[in-house]
Amino acid sequence: MSTRDLIAGTAALCLAAACALPAHAQVQTHYGFGTAAAPADLAKYFAIAPDGSGLPPGSGTAAEGAKVYAENCSACHGSQLQGNPAKGIGGDKLIGGRGTLASANPVKTVESYWPYSTTLFDYVKRAMPFSSPGSLTDDQVYSVVAYVLSQAHIIKPAETMNARTLPRVKMPNRNGFIPDPRPELALYR
């Protein structure tokens, strides 16, 4: 038997027996790519849930927050937190609008619309100030959050915000949301 015949014979045998050639990988469900993450690799990430999980140590009050706000937010959100629609700025109005949601002209703000206080901390820490996001210390974030909530008359001016107190703040529109009811049954009449 020549070598050629031998190879051909083996191939035929292989086909018949459905045996895989060694160069092919077997079907896999796990690949082992990526590296195990150490806590230090994940330290820079955060997400703060309504139960307060993810809130960092630290604290702040509205009095300190007024200063943080004046320096870091006021230019874009207005000295009275009324918003600034000017070209190049477009910072949202942050307070007011309570009682307007069912009206013909609903005004959605942190005060009137946001269901959770923790969202405010999470969002300011990750995305504000808009022109230098993530530049505030955690104490500054607690402070400016306290300031916004107190200007919105949601907390008292003297209340301290920290990982324990912030999740307990009850937002005015806490019960203003329902899950998606679609598909809308009225469309099947």
Partner: protein, 469 residues
């Protein structure tokens, strides 16, 4: 049922007014370029080809430089539009040599005569804004990558793929960090899907506001995406019992976050790095984007850097303050993920002008976030009678289809509409039906998820306008 008219709040009114102005500018520019009648372009190529002024201007700048500029060799007129390079046009291309191969550096550009661009919605701040796909000029089913609509909440980041990392952690057995090279080693999937912004059409609740289909429907685009199913990554890290949500986070300056139900993540979510045959575009999330077929555009987290497996939604700003649908009764719907079935006629569409009675191939796009498009109907009498359209492609799940409908226009006023039915049997509703359900504190209330039937009125003189019919 009679309802009070929808009132815009100050901010929405301002944005809508600004958009009307911006669109008017765009239209004026197109008119200057000699494309006052979009229908002629392509439909009647000979007319366009003999329109010397249009050609000269198309070769000129977007500002619409005077017709003489090219002839006098004005340098400003030599500027090409975005995505193109200007070359002098020889009188007879068969009598001079063309450009040597490779002179473009190895990456081609579109023809200098193609002028369509995305148009930015004039929000006050250009870092948090969106740009519309020129649907009236899109051919076929897939959107050119450079014309894919975008919505960014704090600009487009520049990310070195060599340094980009994806962290997958939370309720998993082995939290892991993946490099782009790691991600590309996994078996991949290739799928065509549309992405539509939940706010597509937000100016159109109260009255027909924008003139063109680019303005009314341009936050919709379709690409072929390549990536790794989340399920594959899930097995690598090992999901723990009780995990019901996944938080996805972007590496942009908004550090965008959304919570996604595990059910969706394990049904068809994938992590895309390819778009239309090449790497995903920076505006679309380079180097990695979460694909959630049929879900709101905002959930397709771009520049994806982190997936945190959890047992609860995080109630991020984009799933509370934004992307929730305030109803007439003051209560808001939350986690309204799916984009319902929708369609639109892209030719003829707003601001075009038909040259006269005769044959027209009506064409448009239809899509559904719940599955495949089953059928598309077209009406030329404002919905009194409906006829089946042709579907030009094989319908795929959560992907647009291109449809067409042969129409013999008798020269009388007509109102063109299209209506999509998806494979679940859902039929695209009218605006009146939607408002009856969701209430009418409109634009700043239920600004999102407008999937109503669109109407284009054709007048006796052939002009096409956006109407509510």
């Amino acid at each position: 049922m009679r309802r009070d008219p929808i009132v815009y709040d100050e901010k929405s009114q301002r944005m809508a007014d600004e958009m009307v102005k911006a669109e008017a500018k765009l239209i004026a520019r197109r008119d200057l370029e000699g494309q006052d009648c979009d229908c002629k372009d392509g439909m009647f190529p000979s007319r366009v080809a003999t329109n010397r002024r249009a050609f000269l201007l198309a070769a000129g700048s977007a500002a619409g430089i005077a017709a003489g500029a090219m002839a006098s060799g004005d340098a400003a007129a030599q500027q090409a539009l975005p995505g193109a390079v200007h070359y002098d046009v020889p009188p007879d291309p068969t009598k001079v040599q063309g450009r040597p191969i490779g002179a473009d550096g190895g990456y081609g550009t579109r023809s200098q005569f193609e002028t369509e661009v995305r148009e930015r919605f004039p929000t006050a701040n250009a870092y948090t804004s969106w740009s519309f796909t020129p649907l009236q000029k899109m051919l076929g089913n897939v959107t050119a990558s450079g014309l894919h609509y975008e919505r960014d909440h704090n600009g487009i980041p520049t990310i070195d793929p060599g340094r980009h990392r994806l962290a997958v952690h939370g309720m998993v057995e082995t939290p892991k960090i993946f490099t782009m090279a790691d991600i590309k080693r996994f078996p991949s999937v290739t799928r065509r899907h549309f992405i539509e912004c939940a706010g597509n059409g937000l100016t159109e609740w109260k009255k027909p506001t924008l003139k063109t289909v680019q303005g009314t429907h341009g936050l919709l685009s379709t690409s072929e995406w390549v990536g790794v199913p989340f399920a594959t990554i899930a097995r690598e890290v090992g999901l723990k019992d009780g995990a019901t949500w996944v938080l996805a986070e972007g590496a942009d300056a908004a550090v965008m976050t959304r919570s996604i139900p595990m059910d969706k993540m394990l049904t068809d979510a994938f992590l895309a790095y390819g778009q239309n045959g090449e790497a995903i575009r920076p505006e679309q999330g380079y180097p990695l984007r979460l694909m959630l077929p049929g879900y709101e555009g905002n959930l397709h987290i771009k520049w994806l850097r982190r997936l945190e497996v959890s047992d609860k939604p995080y109630m991020t700003r984009e799933e509370t303050s934004k992307y929730t649908d305030l109803l007439g009764n003051g209560i808001a719907r939350q986690f309204t993920f799916i984009m319902d079935a929708k369609s639109v006629i892209t030719f003829p569409s707003g601001n075009m002008k038909l040259p006269g009675a005769g044959f027209y191939n009506i064409t448009g796009l239809a899509w559904s976030g719940r599955g495949r498009v089953q059928s598309v109907d077209v009406s030329v009498d404002a919905g009194k009678t409906w006829y089946p359209a042709r579907i030009e492609v094989v319908a795929e799940p959560m992907c647009t289809v291109r449809f067409s409908f042969p129409w013999m226009w008798d020269g009388k006023p007509a109102v063109l509409q299209s209506r999509c039915m998806d494979e679940t049997g859902y039929i695209q509703p009218t605006l009146q039906q939607l408002i009856a359900i969701r209430g009418d504190n409109g634009p700043f209330g239920s600004i999102y998820h407008l999937n109503a039937i669109q109407s284009w009125a054709v007048a006796v003189d052939g002009s096409v306008t956006n109407v509510h019919a």
